[in-house]
Amino acid sequence: MAFQEKKLPADAPIADKALGWVDARFPLSSTWKAHLSEYYAPKNFNFLYVFGSLALLVLVIQIVTGIFLVMHYKPDANLAFASVEYIMRDVPWGWLVRYMHSTGASAFFVVVYIHMLRGLLYGSYRKPRELVWLFGVGIFLCLMAEAFFGYLLPWGQMSYWGAQVIVNLFGAIPFIGPDLSLWIRGDYVVSDATLNRFFAFHVIAIPLVLIGLVVAHIVALHEVGSSNPDGIEIKETVDEHGVPLDGIPFHPYYSVHDLFVVTIFLAVFSAVVFFAPEMGGYFLEYNNFVPADPLKTPPHIAPVWYFTPFYSILRATTSEFMIWLAVGVAAYVALIIIKTRLATKFKIAAAVIGLIVIVAMFVFDPKFWGVVFMGVSVMIMFGLPWLDYSPVKSIRYRPGWHKYIYIVFGIAFLILGYLGVQAPTTIGTLVSQVCTFIYFGFFLLMPWWSVMGTFKQVPDRVVFHPH
């Protein structure tokens, strides 16, 4: 096709002419339409649907504040701690930039956890949005990596010992573990070499991947269209132009909603930044105001709050607990064999894998399995689209008692999170072991419980009351 430029009358405004010139060379108007002004989102979104936009806002805050922090920070074991103090005390407004960045890290996880909860409640991960969910879990992993790498940079006591513990997690892997953790550190202990590479990951490697995944997440979402609290596909009911009857353009209808919530969010965010940037030791741990000392671990070390549910699962895996985990694996394999209609070869495979895992549970250290279960507790989220068999997407049309399952799961997750910041106790370990079972049971038993009970009739059109 020959090159074509939109014909405009000679007296057309200069802006229109410029836009026409660009549009002939770059998909500007069409991208704007596809993703904003003619992207039709269901009209029955509720409050929980703003957290995606908020996450994007926090990402921008983190990138912008991060760029300015890098201008003053020194990634050197001898200078790092002092350079952060320099930012806090001597750089004009440096304290504000840093507090925005540190508060932004926690805000990111608050927003993303709520965003994920929304997905869980309304079945946003179900077909055809599996890839949206997978990219999303990838983003979550990147965020965890980003938070972990970034936490070493201030080179305080918690930075140092937190990194020491997490890098040593890899050392638990049989055979290659010790060499692997040596390779990650680049030295025999966490040192300047470690700090330098973590800095590189934190400021360039992970952010690049993160931004790529965010683009993929949004592109995949806009390809299939947003879900909604009713879990109804609005694209199935369209008008003569192919526009969903229950859809409204994202811009201006939802951009305005989001902008309103952004003002509330920024008010809360500013309140934390200005009045409680340390958040009682949860956003910035007090021990991290002490320079890193390789000879002395602080008396109580705990990860930052957003890692603690998974960290609790790590701590729950003691040698006494292994027998229960082995029983759990055996029971699960039995369930697969007795209760599914899988082909025989899959059942045999399940039995063999189960047997290998059980044997390995007694061959390798519980330390290794703690790492495995912590890893699996995050990775299992990738499997969600293929674990949920319920005939409806949204919790609104599930049997009433399904709500209790979600509540129990949510409480177990919160308890794990709480115990993860506390010092280890016998009773705490026991409770976290019970919660570990609930956590994994929720996901692994989902193929069974998600189809049980009487489901409500899903309407053809979304439920929406104009206001």
């Binding site: 020491q164 040596l182 680049g186 030295d187 025999y188 070499a193 000879l295 671990t297």
Partner: protein, 202 residues
């Protein structure tokens, strides 16, 4: 117009060869980047043996020195402390240091005391679980995070592993192994060198 002509085997062969050669170059480059993560020559060179003067170390007193960036404890055990090791024999996971002896316990320390001299313990103060440095809990008896019949030893603040006064890990704790006893030797009665023994440097 037909673009689906038969494949020209000569060109296809060249294409495959180019891809293979390019792939090899790509792999080699990846290998190079991966290798940069290894400890540098400077990191490897650091870590000379450390000499410690034991004069003036009172019974029950512990000194910490840095060796290869790690804390090394030198604990002069009192008579009561040495005797406590008899009582903990049954409660520790590996009383005779049989697990991974080559990495954790040099030959001359494979005894109940895990030391050359019964009263002086030399151990790397890094928990074998995830690398925190345990804290001293020398007082005996019931205390927070410790059992009621505590005989004195070390508690890891991170995940609650406990060790007796010979650095032996208690049963059913997250840490799988006893604390590492570094290679060490006595140059004189009161001079200790860490990171070196009769067989050479560690």
């Amino acid at each position: 117009m037909s673009n689906e002509k038969q494949v020209d085997p000569g060109r296809r062969g060249l294409l495959v060869a180019t891809c293979a050669a390019g792939g090899v170059a790509g792999l080699a480059t990846t290998g190079m980047f991966v290798s940069t993560f290894q400890p540098s020559e400077r990191a490897k060179a650091a870590g000379a043996p450390v000499e410690v003067d034991l004069a003036g170390l009172a019974p029950g007193e512990m000194r910490t020195v840095e060796w290869r960036g790690k804390p090394v404890w030198i604990l002069k055990r009192s008579e009561a402390m040495v005797n406590s090791l008899k009582q903990t024999d049954g409660q520790v996971a590996d009383p005779n240091s049989e697990r991974n002896p080559d990495e954790l316990t040099p030959e001359y320390a494979r005894n109940e005391f895990r030391s050359i001299k019964p009263d002086i313990l030399v151990a790397v103060g890094i928990c074998t679980h995830l690398g925190c440095s345990p804290v001293t809990r020398f007082a005996t008896g019931a205390q927070p995070s410790l059992p009621d019949d505590w005989h004195g030893g070390f508690l890891c603040p991170c995940h609650g592993s406990t060790f007796d006064l010979a650095g032996r890990v208690y049963k059913n704790k997250p840490a799988p192994d006893n604390l590492e006893v570094p290679r060490h030797m006595y140059l004189s009665d009161s001079t200790l060198v860490i990171g070196k023994d009769e067989k050479g440097e560690a």
